[in-house]
């Protein structure tokens, strides 16, 4: 599957994401980085908006990246049903751009968190969750400082009612004060998914877990429709 992995000034996990795309594709390297000024996503079957500190995260995490030319193209790609995965800073960018509901605030205890943790797969209907079952636990790294998921009460209720929760932190493992333990959500259609923890850092055995691969493998059968 041909992934495009966005690269903003200040991105830092884009190469790990690209590596994850390649491993998920059985070692075939047909994915590529997409520089933030690019607008042509033709030929790409999926998009990853990676982690890091896009544009220095000035103002708010993800606030400025949202206005990059590449994100305009990603919004069109998503509207056409193309699968878009936002990880960490990518999740923040997708929330800021309105492709996903909610916002990410500074962690409750303000500290940067970096450790392995467990997530419980939610009920959301998304191509990224095709290889996972609701209720299943996966182990991937938590690595962020602004990961406290927030939505006003009415929006939170809507996210829950429409089964847009993709992942929750496992009981007792909520590291940042996220509402309802939410670690990741999807858009209503399910083709856009964002999460704070890092599946791209859990794709090779030496890291202790390969649970992250499922997200990169998920969309493959349905790919090719968009762009």
């Amino acid at each position: 599957m041909k992934w495009g992995v966005l690269q903003f000034p200040g991105s830092c996990d884009e190469r790990d994401a690209l590596n994850a795309c390649q491993i998920a594709g059985g070692g075939v390297n047909e994915s590529r980085l997409v520089w933030h000024e690019e607008t042509d996503l033709s030929g790409l079957e999926g998009i990853v908006v990676p982690g890091g500190f896009s544009y220095g995260d000035y103002l708010r995490a993800g606030a400025i990246a949202r206005f990059s030319p590449a994100m305009t193209a990603v919004a069109e790609f998503a509207a056409a049903g193309g699968p878009v995965l936002g990880i960490c800073n990518g999740f923040q960018v997708l929330c800021e751009s309105g492709l996903l509901p909610g916002a990410l605030l500074t962690n409750e205890r303000t500290r940067f968190i970096c450790r392995q943790g467990e997530l419980v797969v939610g009920e959301a209907d998304s191509p990224f969750l095709a290889g996972l079952e609701a209720g299943q636990r996966i182990s991937i790294p938590f690595k962020h400082q602004s990961g406290r998921f927030f939505a006003p009460p009415d929006l939170l209720e809507e996210i829950e009612a429409k089964n847009q929760v993709a992942f929750r932190y496992a009981p007792g493992q909520n590291p940042n004060g996220s509402l309802n333990d939410i670690a990741g959500v999807t858009n209503e259609a399910g083709n856009v998914l964002g999460l704070m923890p890092h599946p791209e850092h859990a794709v090779e055995a030496f890291g202790g877990s390969t649970d992250g691969l499922a997200l990169f493998r998920g969309p493959a059968p349905a790919a090719g429709a968009a762009a």
Partner: protein, 76 residues
């Protein structure tokens, strides 16, 4: 040109982690009796017209889900 100042603050009811951290440091520094510390930010700018400042705040300077903003025109 208009000189404007935009005051952005976390919405009431949202835990302000920065404010809490600042507040938590105060007793150790000998400051007593200070509470409800909240940290926002000020953006100063010059604009040819005030027409689109509201839109600028809603789209970029503040995230209306989590922040309130006030625009103050300092001088014209």
């Amino acid at each position: 040109m208009i000189q404007a100042r935009v005051l952005i603050r976390p919405k009431e009811g949202i835990l302000d982690a920065q404010g809490k951290a600042v507040e938590g440091a105060l007793p150790a520094l000998g400051f007593e009796g200070i509470e409800h510390v909240r940290v926002g930010r000020i953006v100063e700018l010059q604009a040819a017209s005030a027409d689109r400042l509201e839109e600028l705040c809603e789209k970029l300077l503040a995230n209306p889900l989590i922040e309130d903003f006030e625009i103050e025109t300092v001088s014209e």
